[in-house]
Amino acid sequence: MRNRFNGNLKWSDVTPKAQWMNRRSLLLGAGAAMVAGQAGAKITSVPSAYSTDAIPNTFEEITTYNNFYEFGTDKEDPARNSAAFQPDPWAVQIDGLVDKPGSYDLADILGGVTLEERIYRFRCVEAWSMVVPWVGFELATLLNRVGVQPSAKFVAFETVVRPEEMPGQRQPLLDWPYREGLRLDEAMHPLTILATGLYDEPMPKQNGAPIRLVVPWKYGFKSIKSIVRITLTDTMPITTWNTLNPREYGFYSNVNPKVDHPRWSQASERQVGGGIFAPRVDTLMFNGYEDQVAALYTGQDLTKDY
């Protein structure tokens, strides 16, 4: 909308139909989704049966304690260094083995989806955990819309590369862009969501604005942030941490108290946010989502496929 008076309007500046339809539905009080990224806009969402009844961490805790190396390696860096980051406008390139490849505007992606609140346990590979009330929708919804071809077996994701807005990317900390991937059945699982907000706020920059993956039974680094590309492929995709250290970070990286990180135990975790006496609790298989996801790995040796 910033270009309204200068005559350089592109088709991408036209309000997508889904979005103005959404405005109507909002006016009608239908409680439909608002577009993330509009400053101060509250998001409405519907509750989900997939939510845990654990008490979520506070908004402040969730937004000041982040691993997002694009903005620096300290937990406070993403909140501190992300002011210049511009998550609006935003588009996601969807390509590979799909029927309708293309660059999809975020508003287009959000058009027609019902945003749900998903309160998930979040377990970091560093053995701390939080509970986060994400707002998002199932990745499967999007994949079904673009049409997954039968030969597709994996989904690859990429984070945006903007060193001018992301100071961490000016250093060779990781091989940018950050890359992640899922097997197709993992990607299609109803627990796997694309999140565009938390609490009733649009996704904060430090948490992966404007759209990020959340896979609650895997270590947090699998839940890639600020996604600009989704590729359907028939080969296991390259993933950032696995490339950096394949012995320590496997492709699957399911939360598993019995398979330790080579340098530290994964048997227990500290639930951060409780101050100095934050309790340490036993880590649960698949982060407590065993009933829902164990069947995905039937016949696999999880000590090998870690």
């Binding site: 937990k75 406070e76 950096l244 340098r263 100095i276």
Partner: protein, 198 residues
């Protein structure tokens, strides 16, 4: 210049080092109670104590080469620096045991045995125990200067263990642990420079 520094230092008693050395701890406690340590104060405390311990160990290691190559003599403060380093290492370990791993002994022993960075860090701590115990004039007298000095060469191992412990625990390649490790290796290497015969 060197003369002036050494003359000035003559007026600073080692007690000043002990006092200055506990100020950071007081500051950390103050930060904790003012809520400035953020979402995970335990990690902040643990890492901060560890880093101060490593800095003190490096400082202690720098004293001999500093005197040898520049003439600045801080040897009078070395015991204070060493004991403060031990004090911070012990607090660092205590924080891990009590606040971080919360006295889950099965996991603690598993970590010490199986996790190389914890094994190395713990070995460094153990090596410092006899050094802390013998950091007094009485022990120097009883052991004899030569034996005492040989024993205290364990410091080399402890400092190296501390730097490796740090290097080994981080993810990716942040600069700080690399800098400490290079500094420690450099300071240890200065010991290998042959002494000119007078």
């Amino acid at each position: 210049m060197v003369q002036a520094i050494n003359t000035t230092l003559r007026r600073v008693p080692p007690l000043a080092i002990y006092i200055a050395g506990v100020l950071p701890l007081a500051w950390l406690v103050w930060l904790l109670f003012s809520g400035a340590l953020g979402v995970d104060p335990v990690k902040r405390i643990e890492h901060q104590l560890g880093e101060w311990a490593l800095q003190l160990l490096v400082a202690g290691l720098a004293i001999t080469p500093l005197r040898r190559f520049t003439g600045v003599n801080l040897i009078r403060y070395r015991r204070a620096i060493g004991l403060l380093a031990f004090f911070y290492v012990a607090l660092h370990l205590g924080t891990w045991l009590v606040l971080d791993i919360q006295l889950r002994w099965a996991e603690i022993w598993a970590d010490i045995v199986k996790r190389p960075y914890i094994t190395v860090g713990f070995a460094g701590f153990v090596a410092m125990i006899p050094l802390a115990i013998t950091s007094n004039n009485e022990s120097v007298r009883r052991l004899g200067a030569k034996t005492w000095q040989n024993l205290h060469r364990l410091t080399y191992f402890a400092v190296l263990a501390g730097a490796v412990h740090y290097m080994w625990l981080v993810k990716a390649w942040p600069p700080e642990p690399i800098i400490y490790l290079i500094l420690v290796i450099f300071l240890l290497a200065t010991r290998l420079v042959p002494k000119k015969r007078a």
